[in-house]
Subunit: 510 residues, 2 copies
């Protein structure tokens, strides 16, 4: 293979890796729960202790507080908002939300759940999927009720809209095979705001609501371990505050919502090795796995720890989708017009991290794009393949079969949409490196604590650990591999965060 | 797709599933460790308690006993021997074992470790691999020293030898790309014995040695939970004996070696969904994940829980390797002559469980083979593809490219060995279903407790849980996905079982 260094990618990686290391070094060492070691005195007392201030923690705090509980929310970093505030703030919602209806979009709970359940890999979390879909319209109303604003404008492009649109196709709904499973509908709900600031907008609204409800909020507090009674019930948590250990009593429950572990390189290596080489660990630097490990230290089981998203942002521009994506054997392996979380999953998990985009005269990319480096350029497919070191004749063979069918408007292998289907028809041909360590490939973890739909944390035998709850990426929630749509992760954080907060306060959700 | 039911496969599956269910129902409910709940009195006391009597448990018991510890070994089932006794008893060993040298086989530690480390997927457990390879000749001598007998005869076939040979190529060493990573050598060491009884032979020798050393052995004892001191040290274990709860004090340590979880269907669904549809959960019915869950209940981390082997036994006869294996897009995706653990991994984990073998006049199978059902037969590749419902023109295209290169003695995509490489050249063409739910596909889990090379169990923060050890499939050991050679699992059980036993007795291994 021709080698190439993506300097922009490397810089991003070094920057982020540097931040991650600094953060890890700054964390006080958290440790396993100490059995029965009830402290002599509690330094603080609350009803519900929420650990983490992203979308999951904020949503949990809101519901627990509204249910009448005294709530303390702690955050390890100086600022509140977590990875959610860094995100595009997309919430995947459907089944007929107010915004869908206002924009004349037809959708159903059945279509939404068939899409998620059918596309999220083997043995997806069906109970969570079903509940999430059934209550999605009501959950969207709740978000609006918290003060999150949405614009009544539908986007036509497939990427996060930047021009005041609040509803778009954020996933693989229209790509094969999803469109055969369920009627596609746009379900990506984006808060109104300038540019890619949806996450900040979302979190500003939720955190303002948390404050308005009188929730105590403390930043710079590091969770260390759970305090467990002799009968196994969680009593509270030992934390580190300005270097001092303090014990916080949580009379009703503790909600762990401190994110995933993408910035804990050793955890990624051990648990999610397919994400290890991805160029951009994506998330707030607090994503150190502390909440997950604190839960494990109290006897919790953790699920789907190998899973996560690896995003390979092939578009925009959508014109590039007329190109083809191939593996090391020069074979196509996905419909190029699928969601780039599906593409990234296929590359990271199933193609040993390596793939290439082949474009022609009419599908080449703007010179300023730096999401993936150009590797080769040639006047024939054969010359291009030789430069790439592909198996002899393989790329020519793939292109010949693709072109022959594309001429007839067909893609027998992966059913690319007619909108992007045409033969590769003229030089210069170019090859672009989509490999996860060379392209701009943000990655995030999905594995976390085993929970019920109410956020109760379960042990290896499926028994609840009394008083312990988890939500967001600290839990094994709705998002699975492959990641089929933007908004499923933040959507899960808000939806199941709410339920965890309610349950911790002693009230069960509908 | 044409559908077909493999009745033999279904019968096997029902039989084994039935056994699994019966066993699960018969188990007393194990539970999370009860923090600081030290029992008033111990019913039994030992130095080292070993849970499980397969190769890992027996090896641990031998070493602990030889190190001067009083050892109690408990087994949940009526018979000792675990899944190891059901296996072929192959131990993967090399780097110049006595048997390799006696047979004139050249090998090196470097070649062995390069093969394992280079082929075992992303981020393999390098420290365990290195130690295993370095000490492999000495470990083989140890096995011989325990009374395991080997015949000085080298097998030529690729499958478990049945005719007194004790050394064979048990893995993917000679297939591409492994042969480019390291010089291939036969490393599958099979105990001498009639037919496929290597596992029984191995376990008879090890268990005889356990008995001779005076280890107390109790069967029908179910592990329930660990007893943990207030300072976190493991004191012993609560077990169920004839329906009564008893507490066993383990002064020096507890070694969890009770196998994996392939017969716990709910755990497979949650943790290893790619193995869920595999037709034959492979292992002793004690593989219920109890040891893993008991460890988790004491705060242990568990790694690689999604991994395992899925074996698709394509050969014998080796003549079938002149056929090609294709996915749902009619693309080849592996060298057909690789080890069938590599093939099975590719199908189960990377091709959504589905694959087909295409044979011609000269590569068809004996009528009595029932490892995978025949789906279609035709006089042309086109007719065959149509019967299978493959994408139009795709199989023809794959065969044309394959044949053109095979005529020149080349396989540019996957470098199948010349011994099996020739064009598919004459009818009848047949298609066989290799899909994991239709073919005979034994599956076994690899995920388990996070351990050091000395079997010390670690929590989520990488800290050892004092007094707790694990080995065999209860630990995340050497075997990773893909499973690249027979003998790596039982080899790991014996090698790291020994180290865990030694460490539990308070002695560190060399």
């Amino acid at each position: 293979m021709a080698s190439s260094v993506d300097h922009a990618g490397l810089k991003r990686r070094q920057l982020l890796a540097g931040l991650g290391v600094a953060s890890a070094a700054g964390l006080a060492a958290a440790v396993r729960a100490q059995p029965g070691a009830q402290p002599g005195a509690w330094d603080m007392t609350t009803d519900v202790l929420v650990v983490g201030s992203g979308a999951a923690g904020a949503s949990a705090a809101i519901e627990a507080s509204q249910a009448g509980a005294a709530v303390l929310l702690i955050e390890s970093l100086p600022r509140f908002g977590g990875s959610s505030a860094m995100s595009a703030g997309v919430v995947y919602a459907g089944g007929g939300t107010a915004l869908q209806r206002a924009l004349g979009v037809r959708d159903s709970v059945e279509a939404m759940s068939a899409f998620i359940a059918g596309m999220s890999g083997p043995q997806p979390p069906l109970e969570k999927i079903q509940l999430y879909c059934e209550q999605s319209p009501a959950h969207f109303d709740w978000l609006v009720g918290q003060g999150v604003r949405y614009g009544e404008k539908l986007a036509t492009a497939m990427s996060v809209p930047l021009d005041g649109e609040s509803l778009y196709f954020s996933g693989a709904e229209r790509a094969w095979p999803a469109r055969e499973l369920a009627a596609p509908a746009p379900r990506g709900h984006v808060p109104l705001g300038p540019g890619m600031t949806g996450g900040r907008t979302l979190m500003e609204a939720l955190l303002a609501r948390v404050r308005a409800l009188g929730v105590s909020m403390l930043s710079g507090i590091e969770a260390r371990r759970l305090v467990v009674a002799r009968d196994g019930r969680i009593l509270g948590m030992e934390v580190s505050m300005n270097g001092e250990r303090k014990n916080i009593r949580a009379r009703r429950g503790v909600v762990l919502a401190s994110g995933g572990f993408i910035h804990n390189r050793e955890m990624v290596r051990l648990y999610a090795p397919h994400l290890y080489e991805c160029s951009v660990p994506w998330g707030n630097i607090g994503d150190q796995g502390v909440g997950i490990n604190i839960g494990i230290g109290a006897g919790a089981a953790a699920l789907r720890m190998h899973q996560g998203f690896a995003i390979v942002p092939l578009y925009p521009p959508e014109s590039v989708l007329a190109g083809i994506v191939v593996n090391a054997a020069a074979q196509r392996f996905v419909p190029e017009d699928t969601y780039y979380g599906v593409l990234g999953d296929a590359i990271a998990y199933h193609q040993q991290g390596r793939a290439w985009l082949i474009t022609d005269r009419d599908s080449h990319l703007p010179p300023q794009q730096d999401n993936f480096p150009q590797l080769a350029q040639a006047n024939t497919i054969g010359d291009l393949a030789e430069q790439l070191g592909f198996p002899r004749g393989a790329l020519q063979h793939t292109v010949a079969y693709y072109n022959r069918n594309a001429l007839n408007g067909e893609d027998p292998l992966f059913h690319k949409s007619p909108a992007y289907l045409r033969p590769l028809q003229g030089p210069p041909y170019r090859a672009w490196n989509l490999s996860v360590d060379q392209a701009f490939v943000p990655a995030h973890t999905f594995g976390g604590l085993h929970t019920t739909v109410d956020g109760q944390v379960l042990d290896g035998f499926g028994e609840a650990i009394p008083g312990l709850y988890a939500a967001g990426r600290t839990a094994a929630g709705l998002p699975a591999a492959p990641y089929i749509a933007s908004g499923l992760s933040v959507g899960d954080c808000t939806f199941f965060g709410r339920r965890a907060g309610l349950a911790a306060a002693g009230r069960s959700a509908a």
